[in-house]
């Protein structure tokens, strides 16, 4: 895993596809994720509208144009928490930190493709978050799949791969993209 580690600050393009039970097709956002080191992560949405999220330790602030800034703690945004945990585990190259919170199973597949499946230990966290999966190819993280309780799913496609996310992708198309190219 340490092969994936990077030095902060570092940033990457992302495309997030959100699948909700309220919607009949995916909601797609594009922008940049930036890691400043430690527990400091920023999620900067640029498409289709502008929204800026800053995570610092347990504190989250979300600023959207015309809506001001909202503050809350990370515990209230389970999807954000999963994103942070998954990303940090990879960026810091420290799997031990992951194992403290999740049961991790590494699924190797054809070629250098791999998927790390993470299921939360604590029942409390499991109440909000079913689990997440990190998909990669050799030394590159390609996607983070976040499964929230209640059936909603967010798939973050990272790096140059994000340009290949269409306006209304299906869950299966995205998984294929993430896990096999």
């Amino acid at each position: 895993m340490h092969r994936l580690a990077q030095q902060p600050p570092t940033q990457t393009a992302f495309a997030e596809a959100r699948f909700s039970s309220l919607l009949d097709r995916a909601l797609v956002l594009k922008g940049k994720l930036a890691w400043q080191g430690g527990d400091r992560l920023e999620r900067n949405v640029t498409q289709p509208y502008a929204e800026h999220t800053r995570i610092d330790g347990n504190r989250v602030s979300v600023t959207r144009k015309g809506h001001g800034t909202r503050h809350f703690s990370l515990d209230r945004a389970p999807a954000m928490k999963a994103l942070l945990v998954g990303l940090l585990a990879v960026l810091e190259g420290n799997p031990r930190r992951l194992r403290g919170v999740f049961d991790a199973t590494l699924q190797g597949r054809s070629g250098a493709y791999w998927t790390l499946v993470l299921v939360p230990h604590s029942r409390k966290l499991a109440h909000q978050l079913e689990g997440l999966a990190l998909d990669g190819y050799a030394g590159t993280l390609r996607c983070i799949e976040i499964n929230q309780s209640g059936g909603d799913e967010s798939i973050y496609v990272l790096g140059h791969l994000s340009a290949r996310v269409s306006a209304s992708p299906t869950q299966s198309a995205l998984k294929t993209l993430c896990r096999a190219g």
Binding site: E16, R18, S20, S21, L22, L23, D24, R25, A26, L27, L29, R43, V45, Y49, E51, T53, N58, R59, V60, V62, R64, R70, H71, F72, S73, D75, R76, A77, P78, A79, M80, G150, D152, S168
Partner: protein, 778 residues
């Protein structure tokens, strides 16, 4: 035979007291409302003021902060505490910034369309709904989408959120984890008690319940609870006062007993000498029960203090017993003077009755009854039960020398005039204001508590305690309509910076007319469904997702509009109830203002409405009330002073002798005032009460020193009695000076200074002391 009669009399007396004590403990109700010590209101504004001070929303507010842990834990504690307190009937409202919509009775939910102003500006048509749905889509993709998911199908235009924001404090604290936090990272709560703010006992129960609820929360030990607010202050003050009065009282009681043992060297006489005061106190309590049905706690505290004068009666009797004569003969010799003293004290306390303040009237009834009973039992009962063996106080070692020392003091005739001139100058030159102006001085609070209160109320955006905007109307609806008309004008003043925020009754409940107008703008089912279909074209929302929304709008079209009485049962009913007051056939809306920077601008607004809206400056009104109160008490005191002069003159049957008694007493009283004013102390009601007590004691000294018996032994007995009285008063009241409670300190300092001055001046100004040189016993 005689001793058997004596024993029987003691037993009868004690039994009678025990019976009275039993009656008193069974039927005495102690009230704790501080307002019975405030003057009665004489105009509608003052009436409202008194009502607001005790029961107004501001006075029943407890400000709560939880600090000392991380945000997540504090938020959990805040929510836990809120949930626990909402179940407790002692609290009428608990808010922590977390507006948990699921706790609202579902029957209220469709009303949201009648309560928010959305329909005043928009129709629920395709264009408006489309804009709203687009925004909801962005909300859904945001990291904070958790709450929205659940409510989106029912409330796509976020009316509930608008309502919550409308009902939250205008400049409220930041919300983190769904609850209020201040800049220091403490979770904040606003708790409104059902009990009035100035009812320390009921407030104490509420505070206790709050603390208990907090302690029972898991993880509460890792954080700490900070309380503030008027109700909490009254709890702290009454507890501190009681604690300090108790330990100071314990020490001075022990000292007092030792002093009397030393003075009379007879434990039996000491116990018996307590009977007249006990009789007086019990009779006073009985009079309160019969006359008022209850006694205020403060009446009792002050009453027992003022009754302290009565301890002099048995002391005079004990000191003035002569070898070879019975106690009965001694008391007959003393009685004319004692009776004069009792009558004068009663007249002085009558001034309290004339003040018209209920608490002070109780005080007058208690002390006058107590003094009369203590006095008459000293005259008619005590001499018959005292042990026949005693030590003549005239033979007390050192007393003769002390008498001689006092007699040889120089007594220049100009001394009193010099003191009087000094007093005049001091009163004229003393720094600061003469009178304590604020009603707040009645409930003194430590600087630290005031700082906490200021910090928390600022963080919570709690309304200004100083100004209230009054909206006058013939009925509740006309007040609400006026309130709605005022809303935009006040908003304009907010923009101009004249004030930070105003909270109007119509914020909580729109008038029936406004509700009906909004209702008329709601589309019918078919139109709404058509508009919704058009609005969601091209958006990814599931088909039929908004069926609950359509159902609520349909329900809202048919609802009967909400009247104030219907609103009462809602979670915010109490809040509105406090802002909509029915008083003497008129209706009043009370709008709270925060951060009033330009009272003039609001007064101008009031003029433009022709007086239908008026600004109540609570500070000015309460100062006017205090002034009026003081003037009333001072008038009563002037009348009491005139009556006192007449009584003493009549009793002594000589203007010259009356002058010799009253001059030192008056001079000493003003000397106390002068010294306190020079020390920068502002004179309050408590100082006046203490001055009257000291004057009562001073009158005794002057009366007895003025009495010329020509018998040196009797003069030594007078000196003995006076010294015992002075020392015991200095002991009891001097101890109070150590108290940290301003009220206790004011009383202690004033009486202790008074006793010392009265003693010195009545000795130095006694007419015949200088005339005599030989005082040795024959």
């Amino acid at each position: 035979m005689r001793s058997r009669v004596r024993a029987a009399l003691i037993v009868l007396w004690v039994l009678a007291l025990a019976g009275l004590a039993l009656y008193v403990t069974n039927s005495l109700k102690v009230g704790t409302d501080l307002r019975s010590f405030m003057p009665s209101a004489s105009n509608p504004d003052q009436k409202l003021l008194m009502q607001q001070i005790g029961q107004g929303p501001g006075s029943r507010l407890l400000l709560v902060a939880i600090g000392g842990a991380d945000t997540g834990r504090l938020a959990k504690l805040s929510k836990g505490l809120t949930a626990a307190l909402r179940k407790d009937t002692r609290f009428s409202q608990v808010v922590n910034g977390d507006f948990d919509l699921s706790s609202i009775n579902p029957k209220w939910l469709p009303y949201r369309y009648l309560f928010t102003d959305t329909l005043d500006h928009h129709r629920l048509d395709a264009a408006y709904l489309h804009r709203q749905l687009e925004e909801r889509l962005q909300d859904l993709a945001s990291p904070a989408s958790g709450l929205l998911q659940k409510w989106l199908p029912r409330d796509p235009t976020l009316e509930m959120l608008k309502l919550v924001q409308r009902w939250a404090p205008a400049h409220g604290p930041d919300v983190r984890d769904g609850v209020w936090f201040d800049k220091r990272g403490e979770a904040l709560l606003l708790v409104q008690t059902r009990a009035a703010g100035f009812d320390p006992e009921a407030q104490a129960h509420a505070v206790q319940a709050l603390r208990k609820a907090y302690r029972e929360l898991p993880g509460s030990r890792a954080a700490h609870l900070i309380l503030s607010g008027p109700g909490y202050f009254s709890v702290v003050i009454s507890r501190h006062t009681r604690d300090q009065a108790n330990w100071i009282g314990a020490i001075s009681t022990v000292g007092f007993i030792l002093l009397l043992l030393l003075a009379y060297r007879s434990p039996g006489a000491l116990v018996l000498a307590g009977l007249p005061i006990a009789s007086g106190a019990l009779a006073g309590l009985t009079a309160l029960i019969l006359g008022f049905g209850e006694a205020n706690g403060i009446t009792l505290a002050f009453g027992f203090t003022l009754l302290g004068v009565a301890q002099e009666y048995p002391i005079r009797l004990l000191s003035h017993r002569r070898t070879g004569t019975s106690a009965l003969v001694s008391v007959r010799g003393l009685w004319p003077l004692l009776l004069t003293a009792i009558a004068s004290a009663c007249i002085a306390y009558l001034a309290f009755y004339a003040s018209g303040v209920p608490g002070l009237q109780q005080l007058a009834v208690f002390t006058i009854t107590g003094l009369l009973v203590a006095g008459f039992s000293t005259r008619y009962l005590l001499p018959r039960v005292l042990p026949t063996r005693f030590i003549d106080s005239a033979d007390t070692p050192g007393l003769a020398r002390f008498r001689r020392f006092l007699d040889e003091l120089p007594r220049p005739r100009w001394l009193p005039w010099l003191i009087a001139a000094g007093v005049g100058f001091a009163l004229w030159l003393a720094p600061g204001a003469f009178w304590q102006q604020s009603l707040g001085a009645l409930t003194p609070v430590s600087q630290k508590m005031v700082a906490t209160q200021t910090r928390l109320s600022k963080a919570l955006g709690a309304p200004d305690a100083r100004y209230l905007l009054l909206l006058h109307g013939d009925n509740a609806q006309s007040v609400l309509q006026l309130s709605e008309r005022m809303a935009p004008q006040l908003r304009r003043l907010e923009h101009q910076g004249a004030l930070d925020a105003a909270e109007l009754p119509s914020h909580y409940l729109p008038s029936l007319a406004t509700q009906r107008a909004r209702q008329a703008k709601l589309p019918d089912r078919a139109d709404l469904e058509k508009a919704l279909a058009k609005a969601s074209a091209g958006l990814p929302f599931r088909k039929g997702l908004f069926a609950p929304f359509v159902k609520d709008v349909e329900a809202a079209r048919r609802l009967p509009p909400v009247t104030p009485s219907m609103f009462e049962s809602s979670p915010l009913g109490q809040r509105l109830g406090a802002m909509l007051v029915h008083q003497d056939h008129r209706w009043l809306g009370l709008a709270t203002l925060s951060g009033v920077h330009e009272p003039g601008a609001i007064a101008a607004l009031s003029r433009s409405t022709g007086g239908r809206v008026s600004l109540l400056d609570i500070k000015a009104a309460s100062e006017a009330l205090v002034n009026e109160y003081r003037v009333r008490i001072l008038h009563a005191l002037v009348i009491a002073a005139i009556l006192l002069v007449l009584t003493v003159t009549f009793a002594l049957r000589s203007v010259r002798r009356a002058w010799h008694v009253l001059a030192p007493m008056t001079l000493a009283t003003f000397l106390v005032l002068a010294v306190e004013r020079l020390a920068g102390i502002e004179i309050s009601l408590f100082h006046l009460i203490a001055l009257i007590l000291a004057a009562g004691l001073g009158l005794h000294y002057a009366l007895f020193f003025e009495r010329d018996t020509g018998d040196p032994a009797e003069q030594r007995r007078t000196l003995h009695a006076t010294v015992v009285c002075v020392l015991s008063a200095l002991l009891v009241f001097g101890m109070l000076v150590w108290s940290t409670i301003p009220v206790l300190r004011a009383i202690g300092l004033t009486v202790a200074l008074g006793v010392a001055f009265h003693f010195c001046l009545s000795i130095l100004m006694a007419p015949h002391a200088s005339a005599r040189k030989d005082d040795e016993p024959a």
